[in-house]
Symmetry: C2
Subunit: 448 residues, 2 copies
Amino acid sequence: MKQYYAENKDRFIDELFNLLRIPSISSEPEHKADMYRCAEEISGLLRKAGADRADVMETEGHPVVYGEKIIDPSLKTILVYGHYDVQPVDPVDLWKSGPFDPQIRDGAIYARGANDDKGQSFMHIKAFEYLTAKGMQRHNIKFILEGEEEIGSPSLAKWAREHKDMLACDIILVSDTTMIGEDTPSINCGMRGLTYMEIEVTGPNKDLHSGHYGGAVVNPLNALCKIIDNLIDKDGRITVKGFYDDVVELSAEDRAMLAKAPFDAEEYRKFLDIDDVDGERGYSTPERTGIRPCLDVNGIWGGFTGEGAKTVLPSKAHAKISMRTVPNQDWKKIAKLFEAHIMANVPKGVRVKVTAHHGGNGFLIPISSPAYKAASRAIHEVYGIEPVPNRGGGSIPVLAEMQQILKADPLLIGFGLERDTIHSPNESYLLSQFEKGMESIALFYKYF
Amino acid sequence: MKQYYAENKDRFIDELFNLLRIPSISSEPEHKADMYRCAEEISGLLRKAGADRADVMETEGHPVVYGEKIIDPSLKTILVYGHYDVQPVDPVDLWKSGPFDPQIRDGAIYARGANDDKGQSFMHIKAFEYLTAKGMQRHNIKFILEGEEEIGSPSLAKWAREHKDMLACDIILVSDTTMIGEDTPSINCGMRGLTYMEIEVTGPNKDLHSGHYGGAVVNPLNALCKIIDNLIDKDGRITVKGFYDDVVELSAEDRAMLAKAPFDAEEYRKFLDIDDVDGERGYSTPERTGIRPCLDVNGIWGGFTGEGAKTVLPSKAHAKISMRTVPNQDWKKIAKLFEAHIMANVPKGVRVKVTAHHGGNGFLIPISSPAYKAASRAIHEVYGIEPVPNRGGGSIPVLAEMQQILKADPLLIGFGLERDTIHSPNESYLLSQFEKGMESIALFYKYF
C-alpha cells in the first residue's frame, strides 16, 4: 500500500479535495442539493475503485451511498461505515482558509470534513482500490456512506432494517474517531452514547421592564440557571433520579488496563489553555471522558444579547443539554428520566417544556475478537508500536443500532488526532495519518 | 386645559405622530442621524409652544434639547426632564403595526415611544403651550429633553455640570413612569437605582467536541449557570458580600403607608399569565419591586443556539446581569462588590471577566414637599380621587445625579400604565391618560 500511495498520491489528494469542496452540511436545508452532489461523487469514487455496485439510495432524509464487491459468499464480509455529511462551519471568521477550500499547510489538509469524516472514509475507498487493483481482495467488502451522522442519523436505522439482507456482514469497520497520538496509536474499544435534550423555560407571557417587575416576577433566565446548576452535585454527579442505575461499573482490572494508555495531563491543559480540569469525583480525566457519563450544556440563550445594555426581564429562556451515556444506559430511558426529573423540580413561577432531540446508546468492543486482533496487528506493523485499547469519549450513536440490526460488532479504527479540532474552525487531518491509516486498513484486510 | 385639548386634539396627535415616526433608537449607531432629526423636531415644537429659547445642544453623545421661557427670575423655576430616545424594537415580528408607524387602536396610541417617553414628554410641551397661549405662566419653565436615557444617560451629567447655572431650578418635573391604574392614580415617591454588569466565562481556548471532552473539561455554560444560581439564596436574598450593608430598611409605619396602594395579586398574575410570583422572603410583591433590591439576568448566551443539535462544549459563555438598588446603596460600590464576589468564587477550570456597563442610584421624594402636594392636588382634581404615593420599581438613574448637581428634588408624575408594555413590542399609551396627564400638569402649575 505504501508504494501504491506514493505512486498515486497526487490523484488521491485531488479526488479528496473535490470531495471536500462540496459543502455537505446535513443540518442546513439550503445544502440539500450538495448532499446529493456529494453522494454522487462518492458513488463515482467507489466505482472507479473497483466496486461492482455503487448506488445513491434514497432514505427518508439525505441519501445513503451503498457500494459492494462480492467475490465469494462463503468468505467473511466487511461492511465499511462512514459519513459524507459534515458539521456546520460557524464561526466562519475564525477559519484561516475557507472551510470548503481545502489547503495543505504544515503537513496537514485543512477543510471541514478533512478528518470527520471525508478524509477518514476516503482512506477506506483507497485501501479498497489498492486491493482490487492488485487482485488482493480476500473478503466481501461493502460500503455504507450516510449523510446524516452529524444530525444523529435519523434515517439510517430504518433504511438499514429495510435492507438487512443486503447489508449482512461479519463486522462493521469504521474510521471516524481519534487515536491518542501519532506516536501512541490506539483502537477504540467502546463509545459513549448520547441523549440530546432541549429545555424551554417560560416566565411572564411577554418581555417585561426589569425595573418594574424585577424581584417579584420570576425571571426565566435566573430559573434556567437554577435548573441547570441543580443537575450536577458538588461531587460532579448528575442528580437526575435513576440516572446511574444501569451504568456498568468497570472492575479494578479493567480500569487498570485502560489506565495504561498514556495521558499527559499538563499537555492536555496546555492544549486547551485551562488551569484545571474538573468532573466526577473519584475518576481520572480519561475515565471521565471514556467510561463515565456526563452532562453538558451545549447552548443557552434568552433575553437581550446584543451590544450594550437592555433592562429586560424576558419571557423565555432556552438551553440545549446533552448527556453522554455508557453501557448499559439506554438513551430513551435516560431521556425520560431527565424529563421526569426536570418536571418534578420546576421552580416556582415558571413553566418548563422538555424536548428530546435524538440519541443513541454506547457500546463495547471485545478486544479478544479476531477483528480487534487483526487491526491491532496491522497498526502495530505500520506504527511500530502496539496500539492501546481506548474508551474514547465520542459517540456515533447509530452504530449501537446497526450492531443490533445486523448482529455484527463495530470495529473503530480511527486515525484522527486531537489537534485536528473536528467540530471547530480550522479542522485538519495530518497527511502522515492519512497515509498510515490507508496502510493500516490494507494490512487489516491481510490479517483478518 | 380640557377645552384647549378638545380644540387642538387633532393637531396634538399629528405633531406627536411626527415625533413617533422618527426611529430615535439611542443604542443603535445606524440611527445617529435620526437622533438629530428628532431633537430638531422637539426643538421646533418647543418654539411653537412659546419657548423663548429652544436649542439642540451637543454633548459627548446624542444631543440634548434645551428650551426655556423665563418670565421673572424671582419666581420659582421648574425644569422639565424627558427623553426623546427610545428602546430598540426587537422582536419586530411581534408588533401588530410598525413600531414607527403610529396607529390609534382601542383608544390608545401604538408606537415605540408612545408612552416612553415621547408621549409623556409631549404632554409637558402642550401644557406649556396652553399656559403661554392663555398668558397663565406663573413660573420660569425650562426643558431638558435628552437622547440617551435608554442607554443610561452617559453624557448628561457632564453636560449638566457644564451648564449648571443655565439649569438652575427649584424642582425637576418628570413624566416617564407608570401610575398604578387609571382609577388608581399614584405619584412616584422613590425610584430604585440600577447597576448593569456583564460576565464572560471562558473555558477551553476553542470550541470542543463534547463527546471527547465532556465530563473532564469544565463547560463554561455549566459554570456560568452555577455562578448565577449562587447569586441568590433560597430566601431570595442576593449573596454578594456586603450587598445589603447600605440598604435603608423601611419602618413599619412607612411600609404600612405604602401598602395602602391597591394591588390586585390575582390580576397581576393573570396579566402576566404566571402561576406564582416569588422573591425575597418576608416582602410583598409591591415591596419586592419598590423598596427592595433585586438581581436579574437580562441576557445569556453561549454555545450552539440554532435549529437542531450540535454537540459542542463551547469556549465561552456570557451573561448580562443587572441589580436594582435602593437608598442608600451606591451603584459604583455595588458594582465593585459584585465583581469582587464573582472573582472570589470562580469555579475550577474556567476564567471569568466582569465588566460594569452603567448605573445610577435610587432616590426618595418627600411627600410633604410643596411640589408633591401641588401634584397630588392637581391629580386629585383631574381623577376625582387622591393619588397614592408609590415606590415604583423603575429607574431613571441619571435623576439621582441631576438631584445632586442641581440641588433640586425630582418630582415624578408618570401617567403610563402597566398595559402600555414599554420596553416590549406593541408599546402603547391611552388617549385618556394622554389627556388627563396634560390637564394634571397644567393644574400642577396652578397649585405650585
